[in-house]
Symmetry: C2
Subunit: 440 residues, 2 copies
Amino acid sequence: MPSQTPKQHRASDGATDAPQDVRMRGFQKRTTVETALTWVDQNSEIQSSETVALKNTHGRVLAQDIVAPIDVPSFDRAAMDGYALRGDETTGAGDYNPLSFRLLVESMPGQPCDAEVVSGTAVRIMTGAAIPDGADAVLPAEYAAESGGVVEITTAVAPRKHVGSRGEDITAGSLVLRSGRRLRPQDVGLLASLGIGTVSVIRRPKVRLIITGNELIQPDEQRGTHQIFESNSFVLQGLIRRDSGNVHKICHIEDDCSAIKAALVEPGADVILVSGGSSVGAEDHAPTIVAREGQLAIHGIAMRPSSPTGLGRVGGSLVCLLPGNPVSCLCAYDFFAGRSIRHMAGRSADWPYAVRRATVAAKIASAIGRVDYCRVRVVPSEKEAESGPQRTIDIKPVSLTGASILSSTTRADGFVIVPADCEGYGVGTDVEFYLYDPVN
Amino acid sequence: MPSQTPKQHRASDGATDAPQDVRMRGFQKRTTVETALTWVDQNSEIQSSETVALKNTHGRVLAQDIVAPIDVPSFDRAAMDGYALRGDETTGAGDYNPLSFRLLVESMPGQPCDAEVVSGTAVRIMTGAAIPDGADAVLPAEYAAESGGVVEITTAVAPRKHVGSRGEDITAGSLVLRSGRRLRPQDVGLLASLGIGTVSVIRRPKVRLIITGNELIQPDEQRGTHQIFESNSFVLQGLIRRDSGNVHKICHIEDDCSAIKAALVEPGADVILVSGGSSVGAEDHAPTIVAREGQLAIHGIAMRPSSPTGLGRVGGSLVCLLPGNPVSCLCAYDFFAGRSIRHMAGRSADWPYAVRRATVAAKIASAIGRVDYCRVRVVPSEKEAESGPQRTIDIKPVSLTGASILSSTTRADGFVIVPADCEGYGVGTDVEFYLYDPVN
């Protein structure tokens, strides 16, 4: 799949087909976050569709418009338990003027009712059952007393009252859900009510994780001196699932050119995330391999953390080179990889974090020319007590903000983005605050 | 498990151990929503714990405090690719005053480094590798040029610069995550970095669905006249999953006393949801069976829709009798069953819907004495253009709001709750608006 990025756009921001080898020399010029996001948007094609059994479609994205094949309900039916009768014959009924109707057979849900309601008669009926011929209203059970084949009613009901009319929920032929809709529980129910047992939805992008680093071991392994328990694959699996990606393979490999190359060129992944070895060290092989085997469009981004992020393509896969430092990895995923996966999954590219307005209660420092991802925590407000969802939230940056300090993202309640043209936020500034936790 | 509801509380609101048989007579007195919520809160005990492999703990609720067994990092390590050296020997280095250091062996991640950095020497080092003895700082690669066993540096670094100190992320013995925490992706990563391979989390409550109704068929079945495609099980499965419940069994059964009884008394479920047959019709067997086999604490709630909701216990299971009408079923689940499941799962009982302030743009009608669940949609604001998350949202009720009109919940963007002491909201009222869709 060729890149759709205009050449002049890439050239002007350092995003070229073959970036120079930056190992041990550092990045000469960093791409702006904006340019990198544009590249992601232009290189993340929505996936093809697949047919899925209805019960497995919750949260999936529709790949087809849904046109109702039938009316719902498909016959006039009782909306209450009670008595089907002629509404105009109930006029005047009340506690001091009960009216009597002779009972015919019952109308039971799911079964045809052969009785015809003629003048002065009624049919005991259950919610969901078909309204018998001749009847046009349902008198609720609580306003009726039954005895010896006769029902006495103490209220009036107008014609059509408590009757669910054919097609009142959905009429056959109407467009009920549009392609691109992310299915809510009730949407899946609506499809069920139309008798639709399988649905065409957008395929979830297949994501391959390549975790590099000779020093890394898994948390259930015995640790030797100078070894480090690997955490990025655990963080990434949760984020990828959130973004509707499907982790189809996790490769834990050493910082070895041929192993990294083999894991990169193997077909079958829509997105490949490489954790570690993305920067300018002598052992950072991944950027060179991507440039040689495909296209390294962007390497080095003007942001903190995550500056050593790389973006490119190998074969049919979009490749995101994520820094190995845990916070950089999380941040680079959230800026670029997650966005790509959500695009491919047919979802909104926007961040899946709730946003609140918040007031800065301790200076947030940044520098002109780079975007800052600042972890913050909510602190008790110094203003008068307020309440409700409009109340002011005060935030402070968490004290340790190094790219390796993963606990800064577990102690924080969320983050604030400082744009490239801003030196940071002073106390009292009103900012947007992204919450790490989902709504409840 | 005995009910913890005080007797006088129940008696005063019609929630008694053996409600009268209401079939075909209607509810005499409805329980308030508030009392029903109190009953749910008092009858939903948090589940016991289970041990789960770390990679499967995303979104699960911790059942243990986590105390760090090790320091992270567990040794001083390089935070950048570059050169480990003595920081105070770099003083004065610059573009016009490059300083030279003799290179010793490399320090590679995961491997011990035997070299000792003495005066005038440096060690090439990769991010994550151990700082060799004698060195106290890392000079970044981009400020150094290497040639013939010598590295020339053009900037100074202070001692400790670019060194990740042992324990700077987490110190051994510190409390890192508290019991009750719902695990974020980065929390799972933090546990991995501590070498914790399995975690004790709250068990997800087992939920049994009993779907009753002789008229109901599944969406992939051939429909006969008077039959209806069943939708509630599809809606409920999505909602239960959202609330951390585990649907362990779905029973589709006829409106038959013995079949409903058998499905209710079978042990093994923490929560049993019965859809349909919850009201006052002759075929509404479930309330009587629950009262006979266990306790029917509440039957009939002062709300619309969902008034025929029942709450009780059979054996070890909390039972929620949900009305069969799709909107009533959704609403009763969201008010009571979902709350119970979230309680049991150790999550916040609060609604998992985002809340926004919104302005009523068309009258929302209700009646004193009942809570109304009003589906609303967002309409273009008539006020001046505003933007940002604080902007005003205008809402209108969706036109068809009957309890059977499931499409009202797919055409709506969310809902508004009108409390029992309120007659509704006039145009211009500022209300809380719950959004059906998750944040992106």
